[in-house]
Symmetry: C2
Subunit: 623 residues, 2 copies
């Protein structure tokens, strides 16, 4: 990788920072955050403004350019990559290190008195604006919204905002019609005495209208906003995709509906003015509900006294609890995904010893097998295909410079998943195609014990996921080991592979309680820098648990694995498992055999079936 030369670009940016065409008054600093106007985790090429100005294209980072300096804040995952991709115009600010200043403190230390700091008000979330603005103001500076994005003014070959065709999902996939979702949303609004709800997150718009898109890689979403009133529905979306007869039929745009279900389609770019009109027309006590992570621009459109902000929206919470149709879809998707992985691992087992399979080839092969499955749409995230030391890089993605050949002497870690029309998958398996060392098996077994401890946990209704995080670590802790990431995240139903409001992490204290129907990942790991990485990840469904007693009539919950891919028994040190854990593995493998075996049979994939049967032979403990 050679760094991007940014001297000329920075010069241009500094010019527009003073250009009255774009700024009322010159700004002495300009902030370029990572995100898009919807605070998406994955963004479209046209929104990669920070990568454009700096060259650094990791998933997290904020650039700030002043008249003299240019600085980039990013976290430990990206220190090396950012240093490689940026030229000497840039100073790397290593977040998490003791001596690294916050963006606000750095600004205060470098800016001349009474400076203006500009930012695109559509890109910065309202909560972040508030924090930053407060610090700057107390130091005599001003954070100011710059209406026109200054990067866009100098990005001459900026790609177009994607505007791809939509997919309509019928009841067999969604279980609930968009009309019924609107009814349920309005009832939540009535409960909170709120008159309007503004849908800003892309997956929330997609979920609400039972539509999917492909504007953003890996996430089946499309650029849109919605504003739901008690009697009106406004959908802000561009392009001729609303001309598609299937979409018009789905949204009943041509029908004579009751007025409160009539969808008004408006241009994507008109959201701000429409919302300002809503804001201007509010009577006292008429509140407008927004996520506290919505953009500053949209939040400001509603006068402060009328705002009702929550960390999780009612759609986010409803979307997390999957109904029967969604759960069945997720089950089907995971069976197909398991078929693809059985094929892949059977293939790898034969090919790896030849020394011809690289990480990239393996990742491509995984995609090939998945794409053979019914209703396959795309991958759900960039495949982490990593062998040996690359496995210890938690967010690794193979590129030609790092691409390593799989061998019978190294551990191989594959974290991959797909979008199917009936569900989203995300699975990690760690395999050895030769003979693992006793130490590798020992570490693998601790990770497996943690995985089982979460998967088999029984806990009361109302329990938040973060209370389960330590279960995943206990076996590792006992031996002085640990892993430096959370244990699980919510998973969408043919939607984003990472979604709120639930998860399993020592960090997420703002998570909502787990409920039957929620779907999360269970993915403890262990990573040894320079040597290997181990992770065992299933997607699991929260289900009611039968218990002997029922304290305060609260009821209990547990997990059912949706992922049904064998866990390599060759990597397990059986003597480190308890009887209960051993039974868990055997029962899990029995289910893989029955469910995935039947599908392999049905699809006529006999070689992969034989592989599955061999890999799911019951373990037995030496007593």
């Amino acid at each position: 990788m050679s760094p991007k030369i940014t001297t000329e670009l920075l010069k241009q940016l500094r010019q527009v920072m003073k250009n009255p065409k774009y700024v009322q008054e010159p700004v002495q600093a300009y902030i370029v955050p990572s995100g898009d106007a919807h605070q998406s985790e994955y963004i479209a090429p046209c929104d990669c403004r920070r990568a454009f100005i700096s060259g650094f294209d990791g998933s997290a980072g904020t650039a700030i350019v002043t008249e003299q300096q240019a600085a980039m804040w990013t976290d430990g995952r990206y220190f090396l990559q950012a240093a490689h991709q940026m030229d000497s115009n840039w100073t790397l600010m290593k977040m998490g290190l003791k001596d690294t200043p916050t963006q606000e403190d750095w600004l205060v230390s470098v800016l001349p008195e009474g400076s203006k700091v500009g930012v695109d008000p559509f890109i910065i979330p309202a909560d972040q604006w508030k924090r930053m603005s407060k610090v700057l103001r107390s130091a005599g500076h001003d954070l100011v919204p710059v209406k026109e994005n200054l990067i866009n003014t100098i990005w001459t070959d900026c790609p177009q905002r994607p505007c791809k065709p939509l997919i309509t999902l019928d009841l067999s996939y969604t279980g609930v019609s968009w009309r019924d979702k609107i009814v349920a949303l309005r009832s939540k609004m009535a409960e909170r005495k709120v008159m309007w709800f503004v849908v800003t997150a892309l997956d929330e718009v997609a979920w609400l209208f039972n539509l999917r898109g492909s504007d953003v890689e890996y996430n089946p979403v499309f650029f849109a906003y919605a504003v739901i009133g008690m009697n009106t529905i406004r959908l802000f979306i561009d392009g001729d995709r609303m001309m598609d007869p299937a979409v018009r039929e789905h949204l009943q745009l041509n029908s004579t509906l009751e007025p409160e279900f009539k969808i008004q389609v408006m241009p994507y770019g008109s959201i701000l003015s429409e919302l300002q009109a809503v804001g201007a027309g509010l009577s006292p006590k008429e509140k407008v509900w927004l996520s506290d992570k919505a953009s500053y621009a949209l939040t400001e459109a509603i006068p402060k006294a009328y705002r009702y902000l929550t960390p999780y929206t009612p759609i986010c919470i409803a979307k997390a609890v999957k109904n029967a149709a969604e759960t069945e879809g997720m089950r089907r998707a995971h069976i197909k995904d398991a078929v693809a992985l059985c094929e892949l691992f059977n293939w790898l087992e034969k090919e790896v010893p030849k020394g011809t399979v690289t990480e990239i080839i393996a990742a491509d092969k995984a995609e090939e097998f998945r794409s053979q499955q019914k209703d396959f749409v795309e991958l759900s995230f960039a495949t982490i295909s990593s062998t040996g030391p690359n496995g210890a890089i938690i967010h690794y993605k193979p590129v030609p410079e790092t691409n390593r050949t799989l061998s019978v002497n190294e551990i191989y870690l594959l974290d991959s998943g797909a979008q199917y029309k009936d569900g989203t998958t995300d699975v990690t398996r760690t395999m050895h195609f030769g003979t693992p060392s006793a130490y590798e098996k020992e570490c693998f077994t601790y990770v497996l014990k943690g995985h089982i401890a979460v998967s088999a946990a029984i806990f009361p209704n109302g329990t938040k996921g973060h209370l389960l995080d330590s279960f995943a670590r206990s076996a590792l802790w006992d031996c002085g080991l640990d892993y430096l990431h959370g244990t699980g995240h919510g998973v969408g139903s043919f939607l984003n592979v990472h979604e709120g409001p639930c998860g399993i992490s020592y960090k997420t204290f703002a998570d909502e309680p787990l409920e039957a129907g929620m779907i999360v990942s269970d993915e403890p790991g262990y990573y040894e820098d320079g040597s290997f990485g181990i992770r065992i990840e299933n997607v699991v469904l929260v289900i009611p648990a039968e218990t002997k007693y029922n304290f305060k009539n609260r009821g209990s919950l547990t997990f059912e694995p949706l992922t049904l891919v064998p866990i390599q028994t060759k990597m397990i040190d059986v003597n480190l498992l308890t009887e209960k854990e051993c039974n868990w593995v055997n029962e899990y493998h029995q289910k893989c055999r029955e469910v995935v075996g039947a599908e392999l049979e049905r699809q006529g994939r006999h070689e992969a079936l034989r592989w599955l049967l061999r890999e799911t032979e019951p373990l037995s403990r030496v007593q």
Copy 2:
């Protein structure tokens, strides 16, 4: 219990609420919180103002009196008691129930427009003032500080503020001299660039100066404040106790010390004016460090720009990590405490079958045995001596109206502890003096499994205690059971039995990480309303753990039980224990035998020794 008649008192209070002698303008509501000026958990009789005005004397509750109404907010523990103790002038506000308004919301709903709400600024913590004031202001009212406490103006027979003699602790108890503590504190102040530190919590003053008192029952503290500058030490304390030659010697009041260690003794009541003088004399960038729970009065004495507020003070954090002398003292105290309890349980075993032992008699007997031990000072909290259904009342304290007789048919739960000059104890044992049912044993064994899971846990340095809470519940959760309290709290060294900043609870996300030398309780339980209560509590010391590996060189921690009292094996269903758990019990009992056995022998308590030996016979699992 008959309710207190408060008609006349409320009339008087409403008069002084309008009396220009006490209020600049009439207040339409007056708030009477539970606490004292130091935000203490336990308070002196002169500070029981809320109990005086209402009759309700539970440990938590806030009274608000308006011109027309009188309302009392308290939590589920006290609904019954408050209802019994208050007359019909009062409305009980049941906190935690869905329809109960907050104090602020209630005030807004009942007050006439533009009202003033008064409160004693010394009693209300600054963070609470801020929250309440904001809500009231946004509704057009004002929260105003009323300098003279209005309850005191009508409480004619209010007891005197206690002013009891002080105890000086030498190095053999404290390990560190007060001079060295001041040096360490000033170095923390220098790190944070702070010029002054205000000590407001009573246990922090006591710890800093290596002094103890008896102004408050159960807590060996005395009424005082301190203000530490980089070159000055001011101690605000009343009474002739500073004339005591031992105290003068201890504080070196008569010596010619370096000026920065010279203690200026000032009247307790002069803290506000002295602090205002400090506040008025600050140069730019001179900050004053206060707890964010300090009173509104003292916080306001420092102009906002000069305040440095933290949830935990440097003293709170330093105090939590016990040094070698304190740890040894705690060990000694726990051995003596175990001797007393062996005597007690041996005595109960003989006496209970006669039907003559009540909960109060048992509690008194426990105190009697403790008081025979060296350096005994007082109890560390009100003994919870509860049998049968009373055991299910988590914060039970036997009184004549509820006093139940112990029998061979009911479970007995004793949660008790003492202050010794060398340490503080807090231990719960649950015993059966007849034959427990299979169900009682089953529940007891789940609680025991939880107790062991925490006590034997190994976890990395830097782990916060709340991450261990689920370990204590896992065995109960598996069977659909749980308990509705936290698992552990910090314990002082001859100081408060409850102290911050660490603990083990699903609720305490603001806790500081556990460190070697910290001391906490480990006390899971199970409570069946109307039937029985089970709790097994040890005080445990955080110690470094030896582990097979050492990830990122972080090091690991575990716990060592300081409490050494047998856990009744009769109550254990051995077949529910794993081998590891069974070994833990046997090793624990072996240690009780060796350590406490030797002390019983030394004290010539042969009958109690025989009881100990019998109660610590090893368990064996049926394979």
